[in-house]
């Protein structure tokens, strides 16, 4: 069942993927995020991060705040078409 609970729709990551990765020894949330690409899709973690952080906190005995402390938003806030940066007459 856990293999069918999708927690990250950008990268099709399931709850089972998260639990398995933690069980495999990934003991840092920033490494877990990179391993599964949580927050690396177009939504930048809007839906997956809170869930993944709670699962990670529960399994490792850490606090959710502590787990999320290394996460930083990166520009752009929403994906931007490359054509928007290529204007005629510009540089």
């Amino acid at each position: 069942m856990k293999g069918r609970i999708i927690i990250c729709r950008c990268n099709d990551v399931t709850l089972e993927d998260v639990e398995k990765a933690i069980d495999a020894g990934i003991d840092d949330f920033e490494l877990l995020r990179r391993y599964l690409r949580l927050g690396f899709g177009p939504c930048q973690g809007r839906s997956c991060l809170a869930i993944a952080a709670r699962v990670f906190a529960r399994k490792t005995g850490k606090k959710v705040d502590e787990v999320l402390s290394g996460w930083r938003v990166r520009p752009p806030i929403v994906p931007i078409n490359i054509s928007a940066f290529i204007s005629e007459g510009g540089d």
Binding site: A24, G25, I26, D28, E30, L31, R34, Y35, R37, F40, G41, P42, Q44, G70, R72, R74, P75, P76, P79, I80, N81, I82, S83, F85, I86, G90, D91
Partner: protein, 379 residues
């Protein structure tokens, strides 16, 4: 023997891993943040041996061999899919011919491609604005995020103790030895100390009278949403545009675009430039017009820890018997990492590096003026 390594980036981890595999029982790696938080998880993850110094060529050839062995053993994402340096100007092909003959003298099968051959390799390229290209089929790319985590897990499995979120504040010395390190969470002691902390190595060693000529130069990569992988090439480089814009497609499908923009050394990693988008995207979209239809999903910054000759600083220092350096990779730390592990671990255990050419890369060279010259620093 107890070895303490400052910096849990890919260099520090490979050094730790090799030491553990060679029987050193107590290997500890400390990092001020999470493992890989510096350049290791910020780079565009491509590799090549087609450099223009014998030191780089020999070390990178060995490193590629090691990466490919690791690929099989740890199931890493690595593709030997080639580098393509595109010439816009016809006269650039003369430079490429000279480079190719240098590469051939080191048995790197680089070659010149005409416009049709380039189109065969990259069907979507705008062939009207190019004159040809140079291709190195032995270069390639890797999936950096997964690979790094796999290397991290393997290093832990080898018995290495990794202590993240612990900043080394000071190295304590007595005469010609380092005796301990003061961290944000207490004092740590070892018999041998390795500083593999990129630009922070300089700040850490300066009080000891060991001056590392390293400058952290910001780089500005960005990535698109994933697209169907019809583009197998490792890295494409726009040679004739200043800052050599370059582009690779990750295993995951996103295109990473980057260009060496003029920047202030040591600028914060969290000072993104709004002009980076246009400057990086524009020349690459001229070469690959389909890019116009893609979306940039993320832009981040990382440092090249540059030395004056763009080669790393390896090995022991004169003043301290039990201190080793592995820093200043100048943008090539990831591709060199397996060799860094081999070189530094053998230097510590046997007193000399198992790859002799590494001896040309000690800190000593900046005093004696025997710098190594590298003409092409890209990717």
């Amino acid at each position: 023997m107890r070895v303490l390594i400052v910096g849990a980036g890919v260099s520090g981890l490979f050094i730790a891993y090799e030491l553990a595999m060679k029987g050193v029982r107590e290997v500890v790696v400390v990092d001020k943040s999470y493992p890989g938080s510096g350049a290791s998880l910020r780079n565009v993850a491509c590799f090549r041996s087609s450099f223009t110094s014998p030191e780089h060529v020999l070390l990178m050839k060995e490193s590629i061999k090691k990466w490919l062995e690791l690929k099989d053993r740890l199931n890493l994402d690595i593709e030997q899919s080639g580098y393509l340096w595109v010439a816009r100007k016809p006269e650039t092909l003369d430079t490429f011919r000279k480079l190719v003959s240098f590469y051939h003298s080191y048995e790197i099968p680089a070659k010149i491609l005409n416009v049709d051959e380039v189109k065969g390799l990259v069907p979507k390229i705008n062939s009207k604005i190019i004159s040809g290209a140079m291709f190195d089929p032995t270069a390639g790319k890797m999936g950096i995020l997964k690979n790094f985590v796999k290397i991290y897990l393997e290093t832990k499995k080898a018995g290495v103790k990794i202590i993240p979120y612990t900043e080394v504040k000071k190295l304590i010395t007595s005469n010609d030895r380092v005796v301990s390190v003061e961290t944000s969470r207490g004092v740590l002691e070892a018999d041998v100390y390795v500083v593999a902390a990129a630009g922070d190595s300089k700040r850490l060693l300066e009080p000891l009278g060991v001056h590392l000529p390293i400058k952290d130069v910001p780089r500005h990569p960005m990535i698109t949403e994933p697209y169907a992988a019809d583009y197998r090439l490792g890295l494409l480089i726009d040679w004739d545009t200043p800052g050599s814009p370059h582009i690779t497609q990750t295993v995951h499908g996103g295109f990473i675009l980057a260009r060496d923009l003029e920047d202030i050394p040591e600028a914060s990693l969290y000072s993104p430039r709004s002009d980076a988008f246009k400057n990086i995207v524009k020349p690459l979209a001229e070469l690959l017009p389909f890019l116009k239809h893609l979306k940039i999903v993320r832009y981040w910054m990382g440092y090249y820890d540059m030395t004056p000759d763009h080669h790393p600083i390896y090995g022991p220092v004169d003043q301290y018997m039990n201190l080793f350096i592995a820093a200043g990779f100048s943008g090539h730390g990831m591709m060199l990492a397996p060799v860094t592990g081999e070189v530094i671990s053998s230097w510590i255990i046997e007193g000399k590096p198992s790859i002799p050419v590494a001896q040309n890369l000690t800190l000593e060279r900046f005093k004696t003026g025997k710098l190594v010259r590298e003409l092409a620093v890209i990717g």
